[in-house]
Amino acid sequence: MALNRQPNIPDQDVFYAELIDAQRELSDDQADMMLAKLVLVLSNHVGDRGVLSEAIALARDNTLATPA
């Protein structure tokens, strides 16, 4: 299976709001920790090593391609 790079989240605006909302009243450190945990939880759910490698590479390459 390849990484799905097409839109795949139903009701995307509400999803995004939920993500933001989950960080409410967290310190910056707590918010960073929450995101780290979310990455781990979702990575475990995906499980597929090929997909995970593609996702990691995409996130890294996109970051490096963005001017600091």
Partner: protein, 534 residues
């Protein structure tokens, strides 16, 4: 310090060749009488090859150092007659606990697989182990163990290596067809041949302490990340024999090794960890910094490197001595075949091929554990802590916690000595894999499969087969149902032993090839391949 163990002093004796001033050529000279050098000498003796072992000291390892021995090394030592004793005297543990900050994150039970003669691992002090190996060498007519013999120089040509050796009686020369350098991480021999030894140094320091403690602590492995008694660092506690406990404190890069080793500094640390009421005595303390590196080539002409002289790993996962013993396992039969003229020198290059592959695998495991235990950046620390916090309630996160993985053998799946499968098999016994043990009956008595393997090449057959010879090497038949009985069915299951199946097994108890029916021509081809004759 040192309450539980008295160091033996082994007697120096002048050799006849030095006394007579007569240059003598030996088939094998081993440099270093540590666990690896001694094991190599015993394995060669087991195969009928005499060796001389030189050591510049006259006692065993100072301090317990290596402490954890895994199943495969125990199986190798069992072949050499000392494995049962180590398994009986060593400490076995099954339960591990991981603490994060001031609470238990989770506990685990290793649940070792059943039906193996040797346990998954034991904890045993290196000095005990070495002392027993020394005795086994002394008992062997084929091992000539020489204390207070320091190698000063080594010269070699295509046929022979000439060693310059210093003893209390002066300097003399000896010749060796093959030299095995097992003189540790700071190998002088490695410097003498000009080999590269490169890799990664970790910017961290660890304090190891062995303490004697009668307290009723359970025999479990406890690992703390960022505990209240040692903030921001990690700590490991586990048990050795004789009420000795091993404690590892991560100190960080800026720690002063001399200062940290002082009892007035060490004792309060340990007291804070064990609690104010626990009585203990320090037995041994050392501060170390570690590296993961490996030699460029395991063979430099007539000089062959093994153990820490060939590869160094971080201590997490107990891979130093364990992998070194497996070097001996791999090298012994190959040296024997080359010395006997049964195989070309090219067979010795497969020692590099197989063991450098294993060393790289071990270095990978060890580096990954180190990176988890001592994160190198703020964001990797956050991810590490995220794993630990999740692990308290989420079972999925627990396998990600890496405080050192149990050392298991690296199968030589891509070795040039293997004959690839031409049929389909279930199970784990792929060519290049070390043979799994299984309970059997032999001559009506309980026995183990591995006890039947290891002397020479074996055809393990689940049906009729006949011995196969190449040159002066013969693979003997061990027929299941005739020579040995698989009473519990474990053997047949582990080897997917459908009727007619035949395995060609190397003298180091590794699978070389397998077929669904016995065909002498194919066995001959595989045996030639395993001896590097084609």
């Amino acid at each position: 310090m040192l309450q539980t163990y008295t160091y033996p002093e082994f007697a120096y004796a002048q050799s006849e060749e030095q006394r007579l001033g007569k240059l003598k050529r030996h088939p094998v000279v081993i440099i270093g009488a540590g666990p690896i050098g001694l094991t190599q000498a015993l394995d060669l003796a087991y195969r009928g090859v005499p060796s001389v072992v030189l050591d510049d000291n006259n006692t065993v390892s100072i301090g317990s150092r290596a402490v954890c021995y895994a199943k495969r090394p125990l199986e190798i030592w069992d072949r050499l007659g000392v494995g049962e004793e180590f398994a009986a005297k060593g400490i076995q543990w099954k339960v591990g606990k991981v603490f994060f900050r001031d609470e238990l994150a989770y506990g685990f039970d290793l649940l070792p697989e059943e039906h193996h003669k040797m346990p998954a691992m034991i904890n045993y002090q290196q000095y005990h182990l070495e002392e027993r190996l020394v005795k086994a060498c002394d008992d062997s007519p084929l091992v000539d163990l020489r204390w207070k013999h320091k190698l000063l120089a080594i010269e070699q040509n295509d046929d022979v290596a000439t060693l310059t050796v210093e003893t209390p009686d002066g300097i003399f020369k000896m010749e060796a067809e093959w030299v095995v350098a097992a003189d540790g991480a700071n190998s002088d021999t490695r410097r003498m041949v000009g080999a590269d030894f490169t890799g990664q140094f970790f910017q961290d320091r660890f304090l190891i302490a062995d303490v004697v403690m009668k307290a009723e602590f359970p025999t479990e492995r406890w690992f703390w990340f960022d505990p209240p008694f040692h903030r921001g660092q990690s700590v490991l506690l586990h048990k050795e024999a004789d009420d000795v406990w091993r404690i590892d404190f991560q100190l960080g890069w800026n720690a002063d090794p001399t200062e940290e080793k002082k009892p007035e500094k060490v004792i309060p640390r340990i007291q804070a960890m064990l609690g104010p009421d626990v009585e203990f005595e320090l037995e041994w303390v050392s501060v170390y910094q570690f590296a993961c590196r490996r030699i460029d080539q395991f063979r430099h002409g007539r000089v062959i490197f093994s153990g820490d002289a060939a590869h160094q790993v971080s201590p997490f996962g107990a891979r130093g001595a364990n992998t070194g013993v497996q070097d001996c396992d791999n090298l012994g039969w190959k040296l024997k075949a080359v010395l006997d003229g049964a195989a070309p020198v090219a067979l010795l290059d497969t020692y590099h091929e197989e063991r450098a592959y294993a060393a790289d695998d071990n270095i990978g495991h060890s580096t990954r554990a180190t990176d988890f235990i001592t994160p190198k950046s703020r964001s990797s620390l956050r991810l590490r802590n995220a794993v630990l916090e999740l692990a308290r309630t989420e079972t999925f996160a627990r396998p990600l916690v890496n405080s050192g993985r149990l050392s298991t053998p690296t199968p030589y799946l891509h070795s040039s000595l293997n004959t690839p499968d031409s049929a389909t098999f279930a199970g784990a016994m792929l060519p290049g894999t070390n043979c799994a043990d299984a309970p059997i009956l032999r001559n009506g008595g309980n026995a183990w499969l591995l006890e039947q393997l290891g002397r020479g090449f074996v055809l393990l057959s689940f049906g009729p087969a006949a011995p196969v010879t190449v040159g002066n090497i013969t693979a003997e038949v061990l027929e299941v149902g005739k020579d040995i009985i698989d009473v519990q069915g474990v053997l047949t299951e582990r080897y997917d032993g459908q009727p007619g199946t035949v395995y060609l097994i190397r003298p180091d108890q590794h699978v070389a090839a397998r077929w669904r029916r016995f065909d002498p021509g194919r066995v001959q081809g595989a045996l030639s391949r395993t001896l590097k004759l084609q």
